[in-house]
Subunit: 209 residues, 2 copies
């Protein structure tokens, strides 16, 4: 055991292994989004990743452990994307616009909406998944609260409600628009999604022209 | 066959049969809400209803047919409840308050929210379920549009947006609050649900004091 640690074979294999594990988490997250938490099987992930079930079992303790990790991995990806985006945008209003644009500019926004609704639905049923969803919601919340407070301090915004209420309201509005887009209710389109989300945000924060 | 139609036994059995079918739809809808569309099995419904799988199969052509009908039945129940409630309330603002109160006064609001999110998630995956969800959304939409138009005509409201946009925005807000309540994100409570939904509605319709 000891001598193998420093062997060149080990060293060469390790990064590839970590990379492959990450790749499989990505595949598992995709299967999860398509099939839902209860229906996603080890077999589906193995087939989609082009590996054996045995190999998957080497990486993950169980089906549930794999899917929970994939769920959390996917949520972390979303969080990283939003954080890096909002760090780049100095103007608080453009930061809010950018959050919404990221959603409506998804390559397949309806599928993305369906995935998010599926994730929330899974988290409603499985308590273990809730912290990941809560972390995503909390990231949006923090970004929004910060933007509202900055815009208020600089005089760009004149909000009619506490920043926390505005953040939770915009959050809920966007989630509900996801639901409408996912089920294709009320003739929802990405254009209308963007329009309604930004109109509500603009009204609540009292954006000055 | 002909003589059996008028027989007292048949007459006595018929209403009971319709009642039982309805009862089983109610049980199926409950199972559907708990397990999700994909995981709900004939066996679960049979067990929950205290009947045999064979009896269920007498009433419904297949598992899918039963669940689709239960889904649609549940949506019709929701629609009937909202319609009858809004027909009773003459004041347009109180009609909107009443819609929200009906949601937050549910005996188990978190479970109710989880069911609605699960329904939307199922409808996102199964095209056949979408018309039922769309009908529920459309009912809310109509009630809200009517309330906004009435309140505007009477001078109670001074809306900042077209009635259609306000209706879709309130709809999305309420759906998103359902999601937050279902996953217990952002410390959502029914009190906060009510507060945020009515604050947004009040702001958008420009309710006069």
């Amino acid at each position: 055991v000891i001598h193998s640690i420093g062997s060149p074979g080990e060293l060469a294999r390790r990064p590839a292994t970590l990379e492959q594990r990450e790749r499989m988490l990505g595949v598992a997250a995709r299967v999860l989004a398509q099939r839902g938490f209860e229906r996603a099987r080890l077999r589906d992930v193995a087939e989609a990743a082009g590996v054996s079930i045995g190999l998957l079992q080497n990486y993950f303790e169980s089906r549930d452990a794999m899917l929970e990790e994939a769920f959390s991995w996917m949520c972390e990806q979303l969080i990283a994307r939003w954080r890096s985006h909002s760090d780049l945008q100095a103007d608080p209003w453009q930061r809010i616009v950018g959050l919404v644009d990221q959603l409506t500019n998804e390559p397949d926004p309806i599928a993305h909406s369906a995935t998010w609704v599926e994730f929330c639905s899974s988290a409603a049923r499985h308590r273990k998944l809730r912290p990941s969803v809560a972390k995503v919601c909390d990231t949006w919340r923090r970004i929004l609260i910060e933007a509202v407070e900055e815009g208020t301090a600089s005089g760009q915004f004149e909000p009619c409600l506490p920043a926390r209420d505005i953040a939770d309201t915009i959050n809920a509005e966007v989630d509900g628009l996801h639901m409408a887009l996912a089920v294709q209710a009320n003739l929802m389109t990405t254009g209308r999604f963007r329009h309604l989300a930004l109109t509500v945000a603009s009204r609540l924060i009292g954006r000055r022209p």
